[in-house]
């Protein structure tokens, strides 16, 4: 096993523990926690057995396993960033709502 594989597996196992911890402390909902555990488990498996990606690459029609992982990762990252943008927009709306409520209530009191 390569050094990078050991480091990555340790990191992914650590990440799974963090996710479980956040679920126990109610910072993460069940489905979200499950999704993240599944993701980190998959990452750990691919790190442990990189040749599994060769089968994936063959299925997708991509040359190398590593390339298939990179392409899928980039697509997933873009999707996550998009979701974050949407979430931020919703938070901005909520901030405006609170600011408006506060300003109108202060006006009523004065």
């Amino acid at each position: 096993m390569l050094v990078i594989q050991i480091i990555l597996i340790f990191f992914f196992v650590f990440a799974i523990f963090k996710v479980v911890g956040k679920y126990i402390s109610h910072e993460l909902a069940f489905f979200e926690a499950l999704s993240w555990v599944f993701f980190w488990l998959l990452a750990a498996i691919v790190s442990f057995r990189p040749n599994y990606t060769v089968n994936l690459a063959k299925f997708l029609g991509v040359g190398r396993g590593a390339d298939a992982v990179i392409y899928l990762s980039v697509a997933l990252l873009f999707f996550i960033v998009f979701r974050i943008f949407i979430r931020l927009e919703k938070i901005e709306h909520q901030i405006t709502k609170i600011t408006r409520q506060d300003s109108l209530e202060n006006k009523n009191k004065s």
């Binding site: 943008f85 949407i86 927009e89 919703k90 901005e92 709306h93 901030i95 405006t96 600011t99 408006r100 506060d102 300003s103 109108l104 202060n106 006006k107």
Partner: protein
Amino acid sequence: MIFVVLPAFNEEKKIGRVIRDLFEHGFNNIVVIDDGSKDNTSLVAKTAGATVIKHVINRGQGAALQTGNEFALKQGAEIIVHFDADGQFEAQDIVSGLTRIEKDQVDVVLGSRFLDKRSKIPFLKKYFILPISRLFNNFFTGLKLTDVHNGFRIMRAKVAEKIIITQDGMAHNSQIPRLIKDYGFSFVEHPVKVLYFESGQGLKGGIKILWDLIIANFTK
């Protein structure tokens, strides 16, 4: 009852004059929404006799207009006017706009720089920026307007009750006409004079507006 809503951000130098001019033209219900100004906009506006509502943090012109609409409606407004706080518009155009809303029996009057020759529009803006922006805006709003992102509006209370401005930033200028179309409100464009002392939305501002309009489709 007519309410004039002025969204304001750091306009201490100009807002006093704008308010006094509105009073001189007979408008007594003037509401300034101080959108988190860092200067003395609120104090100047209060001293000039306007009702001031202060956003504790800056939220954007669209957000300020929605706050103004909600306040005006609670006070029993029958007609709400949107008017810029930086002195770019003329109070006399409200007078003629109000005559128009009654004469044409429409729900909304939208200001346009292009219906008369009073506005001295900078060359680049008049022949390049605004025509291109108008194309995008008309496509997005579904309305064929002669002007784009003109902040002068006169609307009946029923319009303000229905049209909830959720675009906090400058994209509200596209959202409002879009909602006018979606709700089937009748409208007419009315000539207004715009005085130029700032360049308005640059390319960066335009891209931000486009982005806000696209993102809004995913946050309904």
